[in-house]
């Protein structure tokens, strides 16, 4: 007897399995609708008012972008766009490195040494609950409005959560695996540097990856409030002159940068720690 296999639905329901092509098309659809809607509206508004600022046409955006990205500023000699990008990325980079080192060091110590845990854990739990924006004025009053304060605010907003995440990872690994390592003749230093650290590093990269969103958020906030350059500063500055044609490319640019960072970290993870993402699957 000929039997027919049941049909798997393409899109609707929990059994659905959209193919690759359909997935790409479906994913692109909301973007297309958004862009089309924007183009239509900006076109309409520009027809009725040639000075339209809220929804500039693509042509206006390109012109404005050219202005900031490729023309040197008269005063400083820098091109504004690249200068802003460099400044912001530098702040972000310093903060990411400092936070990672802090999270790694404190996270492992807290998980491995009970005394350390008793000493630092309450403070860590406390500080992870303080919303970073509250600390902004305090920081500007104490550290000042120089570069350091912007890096510090990012570190404050991501390091506690990163530390707790590292702590959780190491705590879970500890116990059985440490006992086993000792029975294989490992010293305490061996356990930390040969057994645990190589397993924590990829996890740290993953934690950093998920913290990047928060890092950007704090960066933009700090720059908006007290800075004289940087992406956040620029967006908030031009907002006063309703320069949507500058804000839009900056916003898109932040998305591109965020995506690129995420991608690079993912690449490092796959290349240097091939076992990492796979092992969680089984």
């Amino acid at each position: 007897m000929e039997t027919k296999k049941i049909r798997i639905p393409l899109f609707f329901g929990m059994h659905a399995e959209p193919g690759q092509l359909l997935s790409i098309c479906a994913g692109a659809l909301p973007f297309i609708i958004l862009i089309a809607g924007y183009l239509y509206l900006s076109h309409e508004r520009n027809l009725s008012n040639p000075d339209e600022k809220l929804m500039p046409t693509p042509a206006k955006i390109v012109t404005a972008f050219n202005q900031v990205a490729f023309k040197a500023d008269v005063k400083t000699g820098d091109t504004i766009f690249w200068h802003d990008t460099g400044v912001s990325l530098r702040r972000l980079g310093y903060a990411a490195i400092i936070s990672s080192v802090l999270a790694l060091w404190f996270g492992m110590n807290l998980a491995l040494f009970k005394g350390m845990n008793a000493l630092c854990m309450p403070l860590l739990r406390f500080s992870s609950l303080v919303p970073p924006p509250i600390l902004l004025p305090v920081l500007f009053l104490t550290v000042g409005v120089e570069e350091a304060s912007k890096v510090v605010i990012i570190v404050i907003s991501i390091a506690p959560a990163m530390t707790l995440a590292v702590y959780g990872t190491v705590s879970k690994m500890a116990g059985e695996q440490i006992t086993r390592s000792f029975t294989l003749g490992a010293t305490q230093l061996d356990v930390i540097y040969r057994i645990l650290l190589p397993q924590v590093l990829p996890r740290l990269i993953e934690i950093l990856r998920t913290s990047l969103g928060m890092a950007w958020y704090s960066l933009i906030l700090a720059e908006a409030i007290a800075a004289s350059s940087g992406i956040g500063y620029r967006i908030y500055l031009v907002r006063r002159f309703t320069q949507m044609d500058v804000i839009i490319p900056y916003a898109l640019w932040v998305v591109v940068l965020g995506y690129a960072m995420n991608y690079i970290l993912g690449l490092i993870l796959d290349k240097c720690y091939p076992w990492y993402s796979k092992q969680k699957e089984n």
Partner: protein, 332 residues
Amino acid sequence: METIALPGIHTPNQLYIENLYRRFPDPKTGLPQTVLENVDLRVNPGEFVSIIGPSGCGKSTLLRICLGADLGYEGNVIINGKPVQFPDSTRGLVPQKYGVYPHLTVLKNVLIGLELKYPIWYRMTHKKELRAQAMEYLNDVQLAEHADKYPYQLSGGQQQRVSIAQTLVTGPGMVFMDEPFGALDQSTRERVQVFMLQLWEKHKMTVFFVTHDIGEAVYLGTRLILLSQYYVDDRGDVDEKGNPLRRGAKIITDIPLTGTALPTKVKGEKSFIEIVRSIAEGPGFKPDHREHVRDFNLAHSNSFQTLTALEDKTGNGNGRLKKMEEQMIRGG
């Protein structure tokens, strides 16, 4: 509790346990709940001790205590002549699960045991030998062709074999194995059993081997220990408050086995089948098949039992170290 100075308990790779209790707080009431109750055990160097018992009776707990990974016990646990120390390379472990390092390849997983053992200058000058030795062990557990894979690329049974090789390659004087062959199919299991016996013949380390397979226990061991909470004693069935008494596990059977590595075919022999059957149908495995503490089958010559006055009101079994004393008199 007074202790008696016993002859010969300072030998390396010897284990001496007396009046061992382990209690955990009950998750609901918070009251201590006894898991191991007044356990006594003496194991001489080179014995291959098979440990069986119903699930949850405390076999893994006993191993953890012997390893020094669980210091919450009461009583005496003496290993290598000292109260049990923190885990170290004198006592190897093949855990029930999570044996291998996920960040190392199979070969590196086995090599790391050797690398941790030797100082760096030795490692640098003997790279080839160490590697060859690791490969030899991998070969013995049938994993040589998987040497460059990561653990996530292996099946559960293959990972378990890596874990076995990793521990045994370091050559510990005592090995604690917690259901090491549980995940293996019959033919692989038999090959690894033979490998295990060959190693034991060669190095005569002291082995503690937990298994759920009575046939395997009888086949491998020189001594069989049955740990179980299903027994009766003179305390009756209720505690002071009238609640049903929950006893912790004791060694209720401790018998010698043939003691030499038998060829696999012996498993089919009548006497072998007979032993396995009598153990499986004997007391300790089913809650309703219980024996009195005075009637335990403790035929092994190293076996002894120290009962409290509550457990044994007649005092007959309470000739502390009943067998040991006899032995001391006999042996001088």
